[in-house]
Each structure stands twice: as C-alpha cells, then as structure tokens.
C-alpha cells in the first residue's frame, strides 16, 4: 500500500497530523467560546405566539401536545424569578393553552394561582377561571375557586356571591357552595337572600352539624338585620336630638322603632350608649 500513497495527493500520516491539529484547535476554541458569557433570554420567544386559535392550524392536529408543551414551558417560565416582567403576557399565554385544549383543566387552576398569588392581579385570575367555566360549563371548580378569590383576596362579596351562585347551579357541586353563597350574600348586605338561603339549608340539612351551622348563621343574619334596623333608627334619633339615645327602648318611645327587635334566642341586643355600638348578646358561632 505504501508505495501508492505518494501518488494520491497527501500522505496518510500528514492527513492524520492535520486531523489531530484541527481537533486540538477547535477544542481550544470551544473552551474559549465557553468562557465568553452570552446573554440569554429565558423563554423569550413564546410570549409572542399569536392567538391559540391560529396556532391550532399550525399544529396539524397535535394541538393538545402543543398545549402540554406551552403549559410545561409556562410553569418553568413563571418560576424564573429573574424575569421581572414575566407576568405581562400571563393571561395571553393561558388563553393560548385553553384555545389549544379546552378540556385541559390544570392550566386554568394553576394560571389562576399564579395570577392571584404571584402576580397579585386578581382580575387576570378571575379572567382565567371565567374562561375555564366558559369552555367547561360542567366544571364547578372554576366558579368555586373564583368565588374564593373574590371573597378572600378581593373582598368583593357581591362578586363572590355571583360565583358561588354559579357553582351551586352546576351539577355535582359540593353543598358547601350553597352555604358560601348564603354567607357571601350576608356579607354583601343582602340579608333577605341570605336569610332565605340559610333557612333552606336549615330545613334540608341532613345532619345535626349542618343544622347547627345553619342555625348559627340564621342567628347571625337576623342579628345583622336587626342591628341594621336599630342603627338606622339611632341615626335618625341622633339627627333629631344631637346625641345617642341613653338606651334602646328610648328609640321605641321616640317613635323611631315600632318595637325593639330581639335576637333569635329572644334575648335583648347589647347597647353601649357611650360609643353607640349595638352587639348581639351571643357570638353566633359560640351559641
């Protein structure tokens, strides 16, 4: 073989030498390039994805896989605390996922959690859950959670009440939804509805515990209503005489009340004439 090699251009030995040389050089260059820090934008591109409806065309029937991928990506992306403005497209990204796969339930819940607790933007959280309900009308969990966010974080009891109402109406919703609804109604000052609902709960309750809870709440609602009435009368009294009444019966005598209301246990309400505070004689959940 050796006698041919000179005629084929380069000798094998020379080529192997070049081979080792270039290998050494590019390994060195690799080390050099590794040492140069390059700016990376973690997950920078996906927020520019157009709406999911159009993306669906581009997935050729694999839209649920795409939804999975974006969901997975989103989880990573939102746990990256170095990206300051990462919540900018939160709603958009989760709307893409829902467009790609309506029935994928986890992203709605997680999206809402991220929005509520991380981004502290309850409107986005409620938006995401609204979308969940819109696409999945049979899932009580979305309005249920939305009710929680509205009641506990947003303190918007009117809104919470609407969500709980929606929850109640969905088949399979837990009975607590109705109680939460009644409570939210109470907190949003709709005593009539709250009373009505608690009464229904009381009458249909199957075990003693629930009955007790309902009865306590009925007590609370009645107390609330009564205190409200008393306070109204007191306000008019103060308007006329310039000071708080010395005791509650005086309100009846002055004609501001037809009769002095009593609580559910036929006890009198407690009145502090110096501060003008009216309290129920018993704390409702200690009855």
């Amino acid at each position: 073989m050796k006698k041919f090699s000179g005629e084929k251009g380069f000798s094998t030995l020379f080529l192997i030498f070049i081979l080792i040389l270039t290998c050494g050089i590019f390994m060195n260059l690799k080390i050099k390039t590794d040492m140069i820090p390059r700016k990376k934008i973690p997950g920078s591109s996906i927020i520019y994805i157009p709406s999911g409806k159009y993306l669906k065309f581009a997935t050729f029937g694999n839209s649920s896989i795409m939804a999975d991928l974006i969901y997975l990506w989103a989880i990573q992306y939102y746990s990256e605390y170095t990206i300051v403005d990462r919540y900018k497209y939160l709603d958009h990204i989760f709307s893409i996922i829902s467009e790609l796969d309506h029935r994928y339930l986890d992203p709605y819940e997680l999206g809402a959690i991220i929005a509520a607790y991380e981004a502290r933007d309850l409107d986005i959280a409620l938006n995401i859950l609204d979308r969940g309900l819109e696409k999945n009308p049979d899932q009580w969990i979305f309005p249920y959670e939305a009710g929680h966010y509205a009641a506990m974080l947003k303190k918007d009891y009117q809104l919470a009440r609407e969500y709980y109402k929606k929850t109640m109406e969905i088949e399979g919703a837990p009975p607590i939804a109705k109680r939460l609804y009644a409570d939210a109604a109470f907190k949003s000052m709709d005593f009539q509805t709250s009373w009505q609902t608690w009464l229904e709960i009381y009458e249909t309750a199957e075990d003693e515990r629930i009955k007790k809870i309902a009865s306590n709440h009925l007590y609370q609602v009645k107390a609330g209503m009564d205190i409200h009435t008393i306070k109204e009368a007191m306000a008019r009294f103060k308007e006329k005489y310039g000071h708080n009444p010395e005791d509650l019966p005086r309100l009846v005598k002055a004609g501001f009340l037809d009769s002095l209301p009593k609580d559910l246990d036929e006890k009198d309400y407690i009145y502090d004439s110096t501060t003008g505070e009216v309290k129920s004689p018993t704390i409702p959940w200690k009855r």
Partner: protein
C-alpha cells in the same frame, strides 16, 4: 515497440457481505501492452476484467502488485493525463447537455481554451452526436450514451484508451461505427485496451489478447500465435489416387464423385500425403489447415477450468 502498460502480479480481494467474507477477485494478474496495438482482454462475466481496469485507473486499490503506465506509477497524475476510459454501461451526469458534459471533463485536463472548443466539436462529430450537442444526457438513448462516453474518453487525445465493453448494447450499425473509430485510433498510433466477453469483437480488431478466467490469465499472446499454435488437422481433397494408399497417414472422411477428403493430423504427414499425390500423378483440389477459432480456444480454456 515500447511497453505502455505493465501489470505485475496483481492481487485483489473484497470483503463481501454483512459478516465480511473474503473473496478473491484477482489472483496474480501479469500482462503487458505494447504501443500502437489493440489489446483484447477477454473473459467470461465475473472473471475480473472490470476489476483489473479499475485497478489500473485507481478506482480500486490493489492489495499486492505493481502497475505502470508509460513507466509511471499508475496513480500518478502524469500517467492519468495520457489515458482515456470508457466504462461499461456508461452513465454520466445526466443534468448536463452533451457539450456541457465534455466541457466539464475537459476542465479536468490542462487544456488550451481555444483548442478546447474545437476539440469538443470535433469529438462530437467523430461519434456522430453533433446534432445532439445541446440535448441533456438524461434524454440520451443507450447507444448515444456509449458514443458520448467514447467522446469523453478521447478528450485529452490519450495515448492509451481503456474501453470496457464498448460494443455492448449497440445495434449492428452502431457496432460497426464504434469498431471503425477504434480502428481509426489505431491508425493514429494510439494504444487500445479493449475489454470484452464478446469474441467476434476481439477477433475482428485485436492484435493481441489475454484471456482471463477466474482472476487468472490463462493465455496471452498475438492472436495468430494463440490460434495457429493450435492447428489441429489439415483437410486435403484430391482425386486420381487410390485412397487406400493413405490409410497409414490419415483418416479418410469421404469419397464423393471420385474426390477423396482426408483428415491429416501431423504436419509431416501432410508433407508425405502431398508427396504421395504428386508421385502418383494425382490431382490436388484443396488443402485447408483447420486452425481453431478464438471461440474454440476460449471454450476449451474455460472448460478446462
């Protein structure tokens, strides 16, 4: 006469199959080709003809052996500049037109630009393709492919041309034309190394032949030598002499209308027969030495193997 191609003890084996199995293709080929001759390389399919040519051209690297072209090692560019090659069933870059194709190959030689265009035109004319110069090779018929192949083999005005089955797949007219071109090459002083398993081709035009069977050269030499060596018997036809007189010298084949046909085996017996006829005042009608044809020779050699 100078030797243009020398092959000495050429060996080549291939590893064939998924689990490599050594198969010997060439088992020690030695031959030499003289300048100006048409050398026929003859053998049945699979004997190693094409492998030999590929070894010479550097397409296959032999395990053992020495090949020299014009005194240079065969892989030297100096050697390659003086040779031309037409492969078996040629197939070329079919995206090119005939003239583009020749132009491309001419760039691989050191060639004057002005001379190049004229050369291409002449070659296309030589092989009868001047009408198809602008046609893409993919539209060529098999015969046309063979012709353009011959044209590219002659691009560099080679002193030594290797033709692998140049007449394969051609119609009788085509065969004659290619044969004429080969004869013309010889007239121009070129050496032609012609590879074929078709005997008539070689018989008609070759000066010298080598016969390869199973990777070994069985016989080689000038065509006349190979064949006349093997003169088996002579047929003698005469009249006017009693045939029984020749019984000791020859075999009597027939007696028809007073003429006798004898089959004489030995050379000196032919002489004796002639003398006898002369002395008996008989009349000699014909004397034909029956030599073997190349085909007989070939068949015999192959059968022996």
């Amino acid at each position: 006469m100078t030797t243009v191609l020398t092959i000495k003890d050429l060996h080549k084996s291939f590893n064939i199959g998924f689990i490599p199995k050594k198969r010997k293709i060439l088992k020690g080929i030695s031959l030499s080709v003289e300048q100006g001759e048409i050398f026929g390389y003859l053998g049945p399919n699979g004997a190693g003809k094409t492998t030999t040519i590929k070894c010479i051209l550097g397409l296959i690297l032999p395990q053992k052996g020495k090949i020299e072209i014009f005194g240079n090692p065969h892989l030297a560019l100096k050697a390659k500049e003086k040779i031309g090659f037409l492969p078996e069933n040629p197939y070329f870059y079919d995206h090119l037109t005939a003239s583009e194709f020749l132009d491309f190959y001419s760039q691989l030689y050191v060639m004057d630009k002005n001379k190049k265009e004229e050369k291409i035109k002449n070659l296309l004319q030589l092989v009868g393709l001047e009408q198809s110069a602008g046609l893409q090779l993919r539209k060529f018929s098999r015969g046309m492919m063979q012709r353009i192949g011959l044209a590219q083999a002659l691009l560099n005005d080679p002193s030594l041309v290797f033709l692998d089955e140049p007449l394969g797949g051609l119609d009788p007219v085509g065969r004659k034309e290619i044969r004429d071109i080969i004869a013309r090459l010889k007239e121009e002083g070129k050496t032609v190394f012609l590879c074929s398993h078709i005997l008539q081709d070689i018989e008609m035009i070759c000066d010298r032949v080598a016969i390869i069977v199973n990777g070994k050269i069985i016989n080689q030499g000038a065509l006349q030598d190979l064949i006349s060596e093997k003169t088996h018997f002579t047929e003698v036809v005469f009249s006017g002499v009693d045939p029984r007189e020749f019984e000791s010298l020859a075999e009597r084949l027939s007696d028809q209308s007073g003429r006798t046909l004898l089959k004489v085996f030995e050379e000196e017996n032919v002489q004796k027969v002639l003398e006898l006829i002369q002395s008996k005042k008989g009349k000699l009608h014909s004397l034909i030495p029956r030599t073997e044809t190349l085909e007989d020779l070939f068949m015999e050699v192959v059968k022996q193997k």
